[in-house]
């Protein structure tokens, strides 16, 4: 293993370099901005979770007994908007990505520290506007804002919410731009592209989508606002417009946005699987390029949201084909993660438990995606709980689990303290069980025909209620499991065991500096001489299969 200069823990680190509110609100340190995001994102996650609990409680019975239909509609809309735009999209990139990308590539900061801070402020302004819309009366269009309901018929705060999401997009764009420029220009000497940790590769792919896709949803929401205010007629057939055009525009961003949410999670999982097996990742280049393949193909599949929306059947056929194609890079990743475990030295630390949980849930989430890519079955299950279950398996089972795993993994680096391992393993287990109990009944419910966004359902369908009761029970367990880390992570910031610089004993650059790191990350700019995840010298490499050994990459 490579010898590294491990600097003695500096007396000052990024957390104690300055004190006071001002030092946080005006910081240009990517690590502090990452923490600002962590705080804000956690707040929005908490709000979104409360809405989720309300939904689950209401669906315990077929009648609407907890709230009125209009309230229920606002509840699921706001759950979606908060979770998608204010939690899932910024979650991993803006917190962990912000914190780690410069450290992983051996840089002192992102390329544009001021833009980075600006992106947080934009996010906060957007958040405040959106919270205003929720408090003023809420919005009931569904997070998808389908026209003409959103433009003509809804009496809720569509414009304020639309403006909030519009503004929020710029925060995403700036973060993406910052990452792209940073990864291109600020790698430490010797940090070639093929030595980058896969976390960086997946964030690079994510950033491309952020920069290319987000403007489209911004324009689309702007058009909704204009149509609502001035009736410009772009979506209204009476004025020559087309309501389905909105769906094309919306999903052109919002499908790639799914990959904004899941690609960073895949990056985290690549780190966890490799590091907690003490192995280099199996098929590094395949995993790296599959991220780019997902980013590119992800832009070509939006039409699979329109299979029953009066789109041409031939267009449906093409989009179905492309949707199957985009499944392949995800399959490649999953197989490579599995193969990485082979002959590894696998530890059962909490981050690894989350990573293994991710593989388990993402596999189911991905496979059930095939039911939706397949035209014949999509007709039956689209707009039902099957879809709801499918995307929660990806978004919660995938992204949220990876986010929690990453948070635990880098917690000693971020906070300088260790979290309590016993509690953490216990809560990881509770989350896994609770999650499955919440969402697996919804697959069955969906195939039975329960439409999504339904406040009430026919009382004579007893099995529907049974499944809803199971799902709500699971949600309670899941909520409990998520509450535990919220408590002990906060607790550990003060009372946790002091973490050493490299508590997991890993080769990654971020572990070669103090915990918590100094403001400039590295006292001496590191010089990189090895590949990512190089635990053992490359000459010890073993080649599987009958193939001739390939030359050890271009080092």
């Amino acid at each position: 293993m490579e010898e590294f200069e491990i600097p003695k823990p500096p007396r000052t680190n990024y957390l104690n370099a300055e004190f006071g509110l001002k030092s946080w609100l005006l910081t240009k340190d990517h690590k502090r901005i990452g923490l600002l995001y962590l705080g804000a994102v956690s707040f929005f996650f908490f709000i979104g979770s409360i809405y989720a609990m309300m939904i689950r409680l209401e669906l315990l019975t077929p009648q609407g007994d907890l709230m009125q239909s209009s309230t229920y509609n606002k509840t699921f809309t706001q759950h979606g908007i908060i979770m998608v735009f204010f939690f899932l999209i910024p979650s991993i990139p803006a917190t962990l990505g912000n914190f780690l990308i410069p450290m992983m590539i051996g840089a002192k900061d992102l390329a544009f520290p001021r833009l980075n801070l600006l992106s947080w402020y934009i996010y906060m302004i957007a958040g405040v506007i959106t919270i205003y819309a929720l408090l003023a009366g809420g919005v009931d269009t569904g997070w998808t804002f389908y026209v003409p309901y959103s433009t003509t018929f809804s009496n809720s705060y569509v414009i304020a919410t639309g403006v909030g999401i519009f503004i929020n997009g710029f925060s995403s764009i700036l973060t993406g731009l910052n990452f792209i420029v940073t990864i291109h220009t600020m790698r430490a000497p010797g940090m070639t592209w093929y030595r980058l940790p896969l976390f960086v590769w997946s964030h690079y792919a994510t950033s491309l989508i952020m920069v290319l896709g987000t403007p489209v949803v911004a324009i689309t929401l702007l058009l909704v606002v204009l149509e609502r205010l001035a009736h410009i007629g772009i979506f209204d057939p009476a004025a020559g417009g087309d309501p389905v055009l909105f769906q094309h525009l919306f999903w052109f961003y919002s499908h790639p946005a799914v990959y904004i949410m899941v690609l960073p999670a895949m990056g985290v999982v690549s780190e966890l699987i490799a590091n907690f097996s003490r192995k280099n990742i199996f098929g590094y280049k395949f995993v790296a390029y599959s991220s780019l393949a997902i980013a590119v193909l992800g832009f070509l599949v939006w039409g699979h949201h329109l299979f029953v929306a009066s789109q041409s059947v031939y267009a449906g056929m093409i989009f179905s084909f492309l949707s199957f194609a985009v499944a392949i890079p995800s399959a490649i990743k999953t197989f490579n993660w599995t193969a990485t475990l082979y002959k590894g030295s696998i530890s059962y630390d909490t981050p690894m438990l989350y990573a293994l949980g991710f593989i388990g849930l993402f596999t189911i989430g991905g496979m059930t995606g095939l039911f939706l890519a397949s035209l014949g079955t999509d007709v039956h299950v689209s707009d039902t709980y099957f879809i709801v279950a499918h995307f929660h398996y990806i978004m919660v089972g995938g992204t949220l689990l990876a986010y929690l795993g990453g948070l635990h993994y880098w917690w000693p680096k971020i906070s300088g303290r260790m979290y309590p391992e016993g509690w953490a393993r216990f809560s990881a287990l509770v989350v896994f069980v609770g999650f499955n109990l919440t969402f697996s009944p919804q697959f069955i419910l969906g195939y039975m025909g329960m439409p999504r966004r339904y406040h009430t359902y026919p009382a004579e369908l007893v099995s529907w209620q049974v499944l809803h009761v199971l799902s709500t029970a699971g949600a309670s367990i899941l909520g409990f499991g998520l509450l535990i880390p919220m408590i002990y992570l906060v607790w550990s910031m003060r009372y946790g065991r002091i973490a050493e610089a490299n508590p997991w004993n890993l080769p990654g650059l971020e572990w070669q500096t103090a915990s918590p790191p100094p403001t400039e990350n590295f006292l001496v700019t590191p010089i990189v001489t090895h590949e990512a995840y190089e635990f053992a010298p490359p000459e010890h490499k073993e080649v599987v299969g009958k193939f001739e050994r390939q030359q050890p990459a271009e080092t």
Partner: protein
């Protein structure tokens, strides 16, 4: 009792095909999920860390394996793709010889009108063993007619007609739902499809007769809206093109292109006549956008369709009572797709 089973009733000629594809997908999913779970669990136990300082040998990767696990999933995906597309095309191929029912969705109710004039709200009576085609329009936002037992749904989109068809195989009472979120009482916008034996259906039709058929009502509108002055009292034409037999014909336009005069074209030509003017005629017709409700529009279209006498397979007047032609047997429609 069906409602205790965690599986929906299967009651149309296509529902079995969707289920077969679904089971295939379930099999593929179960296989890969169990495979990955088994391998991961085995590795995690077999290669657990036994010694805190152990460093395993690095493994390079393998082109052969990468190829294998890219190509095999792709091939399996293609089988699903082909199968799924075939089922979809069967679902969306326009149904011939179908009983036509006009459907208008509005916040938050469904209105049905049979070709023979009977009107229903949130309930639709249909005969077993005969294809039923829903021609759907909406007065306001996007809705969707979803009948889980028939494994069929399609959006109802403002500004156009969409259709869906089914052929029920079992008498019974089946839920249908609005599956596209449409505002406050979205979850109340549901009802029942009541599938009856043909004779019972006949009785139901006669017992509920009364209203004018859509075509007859459309004839009335044709007169009261003043269409007669240009298109002629018997649709023989005048300053406007003749409408006798127009439905299903090819209309040559002023620009030189031609279109098939289907329901969508007729609709557009009433609401916004200037969009596609038939060659030889001036753009003189007033637009009826905003002047006519979706239901009235459907009735006018039904009238125009009734003028196409050369289309005997459309049972506009009365469905053949229990004559059950061979084409109406349950197995006819799935086998008609290729």
């Amino acid at each position: 009792m069906q409602s205790w089973l965690p599986f929906p009733e299967s009651a149309s000629t296509l529902s079995g095909e969707v289920d077969a594809l679904y089971f295939y997908l379930c099999g593929v999913t179960a296989f890969f999920t169990l495979l990955i779970y088994a391998v991961v669990i085995y590795f995690v136990i077999r290669y657990r860390r036994r010694n805190p300082s152990e460093i395993p040998r690095p493994i390079e990767g393998s082109m052969k394996l990468e190829t294998l696990w890219s190509v095999i999933p792709l091939l399996i995906a293609m089988t699903i793709f082909v199968w799924g597309t075939r089922v979809y095309f069967a679902q969306f191929r326009p149904a011939k010889n179908a009983l036509e029912v006009y459907v208008v969705g509005k916040q938050w109710m469904w209105k049905f009108q049979h070709a023979t004039g009977q009107r229903e709200i949130n309930e639709l009576h249909v005969p077993v063993g005969q294809r039923v085609k829903l021609i759907m329009a909406t007065e306001d936002v996007i809705h969707d007619v979803y009948i889980p037992a028939f494994r069929i749904k399609n959006d109802v989109v403002p500004g156009k007609y969409t259709t869906e068809w089914f052929e029920a195989t079992k008498p019974g009472r089946y839920n249908f739902f609005c599956a596209e979120y449409c505002g406050m009482n979205h979850s109340g916008m549901r009802g029942y499809i009541i599938v009856m034996e043909p004779t019972e259906y006949e009785n139901w039709l006669t017992g509920n007769a009364g209203g004018a058929s859509p075509a007859a009502a459309g004839r009335g509108l044709y007169e009261s809206l003043g269409c007669v002055s240009c298109h002629g009292a018997n649709a023989e034409g005048g300053r406007g093109p003749a409408l006798m037999g127009v439905y299903g014909s090819k209309a040559v336009l002023n620009g030189g292109q031609s279109v098939t005069a289907d329901e969508g074209y007729l609709r557009e030509s009433i609401l916004n006549p200037q969009a596609k003017v038939v060659t030889g005629f001036g753009p003189i017709m007033p637009a009826f956008q905003g002047q006519i409700s979706e239901e009235q529009l459907l009735q006018v279209v039904a009238y125009l369709k009734s003028l196409s006498t050369a289309k005997p397979e459309t049972p506009t007047a009365k469905p053949p009572p229990a004559s059950s032609q061979p084409s109406a047997t349950p197995k006819a429609s799935p086998s008609s797709r290729r």
